[in-house]
């Protein structure tokens, strides 16, 4: 801990840790970032369209994750009065604030895959 005071005061450091912990608690897990990413970049989708776009996710997991994202005001769920009834999911305007983070996650993933592949060849 000796180097903490070189860069951060203790209260600044606590704030950083809290902020990282907030984000990771909300968005961690394999799927949530991908769910929001797909809704942001591919647009509004029905449940089964969204499920197909994500690949290997189970229906129960997707349903639970969507519910948590709804509570956190990142996704809206709209029941449409069609026959049969359809349910659509959409990223909220607030979810747009996650775009820079999603881009960083995607960029780092591409770079990391390249690095690991090069190391295996070497």
């Amino acid at each position: 801990m000796k180097k903490m005071t070189d860069h951060f005061s203790v209260s600044e450091c606590t704030k950083e840790i809290l902020a990282i912990s907030d984000t990771m608690e909300l968005l961690s897990g394999k799927w949530k970032i991908q769910i929001i990413g797909n809704l942001l970049y591919l647009g509004t989708m029905r449940f089964m369209e969204l499920k197909r776009s994500l690949g290997a996710i189970g229906a129960k997991k997707l349903s639970n994750d969507l519910h948590e994202l709804e509570i956190n005001q990142l996704v809206t769920r709209t029941v449409k009065n069609t026959k049969p009834i359809t349910v659509e999911y959409e990223a909220t305007p607030y979810a747009q604030t996650l775009k820079p983070l999603i881009n960083e996650i995607s960029n780092w993933g591409k770079m990391h895959r390249k690095t690991i592949t090069q190391n295996q060849k070497a």
Copy 2:
């Protein structure tokens, strides 16, 4: 899915999903980003120093996460020939590439806490 072709080709889209999935598989969970963040910003630490700096993490969880991060070349573990023997953990130069991502995670966490707090007041 109808809007996919407006922005991405199918193969571009698959690449994006793969990249996000790679990063989230490696870094998701509540602690890994915080472990790397603390080693990057606070410097080299012994196991117990690192544990204290993180707060509520258990020793077994920390040990497992450090091992995974070591395998992925983000952390090095050095056994020092002192009496008693000490074990130090350090972020690798490669881990520096995570700084923009960690900053985005921290910034979003701060903004989100502010938003949620304001909504509760309103």
